[in-house]
Symmetry: D2
C-alpha cells in the first residue's frame, strides 16, 4: 500500500489487522520525505474460517484506503504469477531461468517462451516449455507484436521477462504490461544504454562492468532499476572477456530481479523502485 504520508497510518492498519484476527508476520515501511509519500508492505496470516479475504479487503478499503487516500494490493502467498519469457539467440539467461524454475526455486508458472529466432527451441524442449517462434522484421514488427500479445493473453501471463530479447518493444506493447516487463541490460545503467554496451565499455577503458535489470518503459533503458551488480575488469580483458564475464553477471542480476518481482517485493513510483527485502 502507499498513500500521502500522515500521522496514524501504521497504528490504524495494524489495529485493523488485529481486529480481523490477522497476525502480522512481516512489516516494512518507507517514507519518502522529499515527496511526503508513505509506502508499506505487510505479510499477514489469517484464519479464513472465521473471516473471508473479501470481508477483510472490504474493511481495509473503508477504514484505510478511504481514510488515508491509499492504494493497496492484496495477494495470496501461494498464488503463483505466470511468467512469459521472450528471448532472441543468447541462451545464458534462459538456461538460468529454466534451471531455477525446474527445481522450484522460482515460485511462478512459466507457460511459454516466445522468440524471434528458432535457435533456442531445443533449449525450451529440454525443459518442456512451449516455444513460439514469431519472426520480427522492420516491416512485420507491428503484426508480430500483436501475435505475441495474443499468445501472452491466451496464456494469462502476468508479467514478461526479456531474457536478452534483442528487440525494442513498442509503446503499445508496453502499455499492456505497465511495470510488468523486466529487462536485463548488460551495463551498469545509466552508463552505456542502447546497443553494444560491452564494446562501448571496452572503448572507454572502464575498470568495472555491470548489468542492470529494470522495468521496461517507453524510453529505452531508462525504466525503474530493480537490481544492479558489477565486476572488476582490467586492460588485460578483451571485449570477448567482457562479454564472457558479463554474462555471469547478467544471469545473476536478472534472477535476483525475477525473485523480487515474483515475491511481490517491488513497488514502483516516480521511475524508481522501492525494494522491500
Amino acid at each position: 500500500m502507499h498513500c500521502p504520508d500522515q500521522k496514524g497510518i501504521i497504528a490504524s492498519v495494524t489495529e485493523l489487522i488485529h481486529a480481523n484476527q490477522g497476525n502480522i508476520v512481516y512489516i516494512d515501511q518507507y517514507v519518502d520525505r522529499v515527496n511526503n509519500l508513505f509506502f508499506m508492505r505487510l505479510e499477514i496470516e489469517f484464519h479464513f474460517k472465521t473471516r473471508s479475504m473479501d470481508a477483510f479487503q472490504h474493511d481495509f478499503d473503508q477504514k484505510i484506503n478511504q481514510a488515508f487516500q491509499a492504494k493497496s494490493n492484496f495477494y495470496f502467498k501461494n498464488q503463483k504469477p505466470k511468467m512469459g519469457v521472450m528471448v532472441s539467440k543468447y541462451d545464458h539467461c534462459l538456461y538460468d531461468i529454466l534451471a531455477q524454475y525446474n527445481t522450484g526455486r522460482l515460485h511462478c508458472e512459466m507457460p511459454l517462451i516466445i522468440s524471434n529466432h528458432e535457435d533456442l527451441q531445443t533449449v525450451a524442449q529440454q525443459f518442456n516449455i512451449p516455444y513460439y517462434h514469431i519472426p520480427v522484421s522492420k516491416e512485420t514488427k507491428l503484426k508480430a507484436e500483436k501475435n505475441q500479445l495474443k499468445l501472452l493473453k491466451q496464456h494469462k501471463v502476468d508479467f514478461i521477462v526479456l531474457a536478452r530479447y534483442m528487440q525494442i518493444v513498442s509503446k503499445e506493447f508496453i502499455s499492456n504490461y505497465p511495470f510488468k516487463i523486466i529487462n536485463i541490460h548488460h551495463s551498469f545503467l545509466p552508463a552505456f544504454p542502447g546497443a553494444k554496451p560491452y564494446h562501448m565499455a571496452y572503448q572507454r577503458g572502464v575498470k568495472i562492468i555491470g548489468a542492470t535489470s529494470h522495468y521496461v518503459t517507453e524510453e529505452l533503458d531508462s525504466g525503474p532499476i530493480i537490481e544492479q551488480d558489477v565486476i572488476k575488469v582490467s586492460h588485460l580483458h578483451s571485449v570477448e572477456n567482457f562479454i564472457e564475464r558479463g554474462q555471469d553477471l547478467e544471469r545473476l542480476v536478472l534472477l535476483r530481479a525475477l525473485r523480487l518481482h515474483i515475491e511481490r517485493k517491488i513497488m514502483v513510483y516516480q521511475n524508481k523502485t522501492i525494494i522491500f527485502n
Copy 2:
C-alpha cells in the same frame, strides 16, 4: 525494544505513540522466528510542550513493557554518546576516526585517547584530544586496567573503541562496558582469530582477506559481529601487501561499525547483532 513475539505489539505501540501526539518517522522491526522474539526500533518526533519525555516513558512502561514483557531504551537524537579510544602503535584507524570526528561526521564526543605506548601522542596532539599513556606489561596489566577504567569513568565514557589496541582486555574490564567495547579484527572472522591473521591468511593461500568489527566479549574475537568486509588478493601479494590492503578495509569497517553504534542502530542478543539500517 524487544520482547517475546506475540500478536498486537506493533498496533499497541503505534497507537500509544499516536495517543501521545508523537509522529513515527521511522519504524523497523524484526522477528526471530526460531526463538520467537520480537525486536523494534522507532524514531519518533514529539512536541514536548504538551507532553514530557518522562510522562511518555511512564505510559510506555505501563502499557507496553508490562503488557508484553518488553525491554526498551529511549534516547534523544541530539544527545551525543562519549567515545573513549584505545590504541597501541598503529595509526591508520586512529587517523580515520579523528578526521571523521573533526569534521562532525561522527556524532559523538571524544574526551580521551588511552594508549599503552607513546607513539601516537603526536597524532592526538594534531587533533587536540587528551592522550593518556598507560604502559601495560604482564605484571602491571591489572593495575593498568584499573587506571584505564578510572580515566574512562572520570570522562563519563559511554563506549570504547579498540582502534587496533593490541592488548587482550580482561573479563573484569569488559564487565564494565558490556556490548559497549568495539574492536576491529583484521580478518573475516571466524577465520583467523587471534594474532597475526594476515600471516595466517597468506600461509593458507586465501583469495580474499577481510576485516571484522565486533563487540568484545570474554572469548577472544568471538563477540557479536557488527560489520565485515573483504577484498580480493592473489598469489602476487606478499604479507606486506595483505597488511597494506587490509588496513584500508580495517579503517572503513571500523568506521561503519562506529556510525551504527553511535546512531543506536544495533541491538545485541544471543551473541549476534541486529542492525536496523
Copy 3:
C-alpha cells in the same frame, strides 16, 4: 614451468623460443621471494611445418630444464581436457556446468556424470550426458570408489569436479588425481570447514557468507584454494536465505575455477595456487 629462481631464465627461454621460430603471445611470470622459486606461463605460436613439437620440447628439455633444474608442461591449446563430474542430490552447480558446457563456453569434454544417488539422472538426460549411479554406504565405500575409478579411467578423464558431491573421497582415490579434483565448498574457507557451513555461519552471526573452490587433498577442505567469493547477509536472513543466496555464489565460484583449470592457468605448490590470469 617452475624452477629455483636464478638469473637469466627469462632471457634463455625467450631466446630459445625465438630460435625455434616461435612467437610468444603471452608471458607471465611470478617469483616467490620467500622461497626463491620462479614460475612462468607462456603461450606460444609455432609454425609446425618447419619444426615439430617434439623437436622443440627436446630442445627445451636440454637447454632449459636441465640448465635451470626446471619442470615444465606443454599443452596444445586445441586439446580439450576430459572432465568427470560427480554429484549427489543438489542440482544447481550441475545445471550451471551443463548449460555452459552445452554452448561451448567450457572448453572441455564431459564424458560422464557419476552420482551416489539417482536424483539427477533426469538432468543428465536433458543434456545427453551418460549418468552412472554408484550407491555409496559406509560399508560399500571402498568398492564404490573402485568402480568410480574404473569408470573414470575407462573414459580417460583428466580431472574431476565434485559439483556438491556430498561424500568425502578417500586418500587412495585422491592419489589417482593429485591436484586434479576440484571441489566447491559452501563457505569462505578456512571459516566453517566440514558439514553444514551455512548453519554454522548463521549461528555465528556473520555478515558475509562465501564459497570456495579448491583442489581436494587428504585433509578435509584444506587443499589449495582456486577461487573464492562472498556475498553480504544480515540478521534478516534465515538459514534458508543463506542457502539460497549461497547457491548462486557456489555456481559462479565453481565455474570460474573450472574455466581456470581447463585453460591451464593454475599452478600448485606448497598447498597454494598461482593463477595466471
Copy 4:
C-alpha cells in the same frame, strides 16, 4: 617501454639486461592485439659499481629503442616523485592523503597544497604542509592558474592531485602536466559526469553508486580511468546518505590511484590506462 608488437622483443630486452649484469625482479608485459602494440614494465636490480645507469640506458637506446621503434622510461626506485595537491572545501580526501603521507605509506614528497578557499588551511597546518590560497573567480581564473603553475613549478612538482578540487582546469593548465593530473570524480564514469553526480544518481534511482579516479584531459571527466569502485545503495538512502557513503569510496579510490601512479605502474595510451599490478 612500449613499441609496435613484433617478434623477439622480450628475448632482446632480457638478454641485454642479463649482459649488463642486471637481475630482473619483476617483468610484466601486455600486448594489445587489436592495435598490435607491445607494453612492458620491468623492475631490475643493478650493481652500479661496475656499470652506470647512463651506460645501461645508452645500451638500451641503441639495441632496443632503435631496433624496435620503442619508447622507454627509466626511474630509480628510491626517487620519490613530488606531488602537488589541489583542494576546495571538502576535506575527506585531503585527510586521507595527509594521514597516509604522514606515516610514509605514500612514497612521494608533498611540497604544497593549493586551494581556491581558505577552509582547509587548518588541516594543512595540522600536518605542516605549506598551504597557498589562490582565489578563483570567472574573471581571475586565467591569472589564478598562472599563479598556481608558478607555485607548482617552483616546488618542482611532478604530478598533481585534484582531491575534490571543484574547479575545471583549463586546456593550457593541463598541457603543462599531460597525464600527470589525477582527479577523483564521485560517480562510476561514464555515468553522471559533471556536477552533482550523487543528486543525479539519486534522481535516476540507481542501486549502486561509485567513484572514479582518472587522468585529467581536455574533455571533462573523460580522461583515462585509473581506478573505480562502487557501493550498493537502496531506496532507503537519501542524497545525503549517498554523499556520506560515497565519500568513503572517493577516499579509497583516489588513494589506490595515487599509489599506482607513485609506484609508476600506469601507462597511458589511446585514452586508456594499462595498470601493471
